[in-house]
Symmetry: C2
Amino acid sequence: MTQDGIARTPDASPRTLPHAATLHDVAREAGVSLATASRVLNGSERKVAEAFRERVERAAEALGYTPNVSAQATARGRSPVIALLVADIADPYFGQIAAGVARGADERGLVVTIAITERDPERENRIVRALRGQRPMGLILAASRAEHPDGAEAGSELEAFERFGGRVVAFGERHGDDGAERSVVIDNAGGAEELGRRMAALGYRTAIGIAAAAGVRTSDDRLDGFTRGFASGGGRVERIVRADFRRESGAAAMAGALAEGVEPGTLVFGMSDVVALGAISAIRAAGREVGSDIAVCGFDDVPASSDVTPSLTTVRIPLNDAGYQAFRAIVDEDWQQDPLPVEVVVRDSTPGR
Amino acid sequence: MTQDGIARTPDASPRTLPHAATLHDVAREAGVSLATASRVLNGSERKVAEAFRERVERAAEALGYTPNVSAQATARGRSPVIALLVADIADPYFGQIAAGVARGADERGLVVTIAITERDPERENRIVRALRGQRPMGLILAASRAEHPDGAEAGSELEAFERFGGRVVAFGERHGDDGAERSVVIDNAGGAEELGRRMAALGYRTAIGIAAAAGVRTSDDRLDGFTRGFASGGGRVERIVRADFRRESGAAAMAGALAEGVEPGTLVFGMSDVVALGAISAIRAAGREVGSDIAVCGFDDVPASSDVTPSLTTVRIPLNDAGYQAFRAIVDEDWQQDPLPVEVVVRDSTPGR
DNA sequence: ATGAAAGCGCTAACAT
DNA sequence: ATGTTAGCGCTTTCAT
């Protein structure tokens, strides 16, 4: 043994590090061919004599062999990965979706890679392009995107991805023409409409919507649905302030609205719970009361929503299941979305008037 | 052009799908060798004539070439990935850490893969083993683990990983002897001690701790620190109930404690905000009041903690930065942890008595 | 500075 | 049923 604890090889190439056992090592150790070793360790169709199989398995065990995923991927031409794009992984909305995706991936032994778009469309495009390099089985777009922000160019990276056999699954129906893309749809409009109806029934007549920029599909759908439902009960969305889906943004938007004046008895509808939570803190900061003075409702039913006081009225959507659906949309050839029930849950932030 | 839109090749092999442009394609298109193409597109040292360089770049652009990461990884022997292990990605604690890791990875063009341990040590071991197959640059263990659950066996997968040049970074100092492993340490004990002191100063004298199983380092440290600080101010932790770090678990533990009887004026210390939040809901469910009746404090300062009412007293730790530190511990050869300030933030859930 | 060619670890025909 | 061998897409000596 040499001083560095590594056996010196005849050709004296100075390996600096021991290397992980390779399939080759296993085969040699077991006294079988590469192919046989590969078959018992990885190949699907079982056609190896029990005796050999055992020897290979023992050798692999002894050497601590782990198949090199990259090598397998190059050889097979596809990578056992699912790429997940989210706007912000620290956001509970995306966190839950991610959990659902991970749950599915785990079942199939797939690895999920995650990338953060920060809600920047340009950044998103760059990421998709880079992700293509991973040659993943599929791409899940959970980041809320706007409709074709600038004409035909947008999404061309996605097309390229699909053209080469990758599957892309988006949350929410996609604008365009492309039939290849699958989407798991959450009934944003329907849920919001029901919410609007319920709020009108509770006696609210005027509302302020805190929405993302026009063009952001999720936001548009929720706002439109709510407006419709609210109107059907005699209510009216009298003002729409813009924010993105971040908490601080919601707070700022609310603060702005407050500065312009908000009548007692007004209902504020945040396009997501996170935004609504931000609005609540702004309302408090302005010395107003949440509930009987200014009512607030949101959308998503993230865990925090039941913890606030007053607890937040919202629309529950099974985010984790939605993530799982997205996973299945990628791996199941004949996938069809299971229904994702949305449900209005009325809590204390919207007392009856 | 044939009917399927693909040029028929002389050997008539029926490719079912177009394939992504390969480096080979680019080289041919540009009329240069594979090596040259590789050099301009990926190689580090620049030594290619400007004329060639341009032709290659144009060809790559025209063909929409994206380097095949797996192939690069096999050729180079290492994969540009950072593997992140968390107990539960939907938990805001892990979500923030993940965001920090992702932020760093993005800077260096690395991809982060995430795996969920579900707080199951056995599962964690399986995962680490599978992860080895990715040959990632490093492994970040954010999942709170117990000390050697069952003797020497535990962590052997980690050792194997490190032996082959992978770097593992753990949150919290590791038990063992191994010098290879780096750890980003959060001053759990110190923060909790200060919290204990402050609570005692507020007038609390008896506390109930909701902790994870003994042996879970994070929990132990927080509990010990708190106990010490609280005692220094004349307080005493009179009961310790066990839960894991999930919200429901915290609620159940609190419900149990409540059933046995909890004196007014008692302080409940949840080992994490999530647990404390669960405790709060249990207290409410039992018809008791949070604050003046039963006070509650937690640890982490997740966003939800400032939204609850009464807002939760806790210890703030810069989780996102902690995640970023972990990233750096992997990529920077001469890494040294930047200090991660912990700070007690007293809110309404622990009014002075 | 450029190209030819030998790998990287593994899979999958194709023999045998 | 097992072994041989030609790739997979890319990197990297090693010549030139």
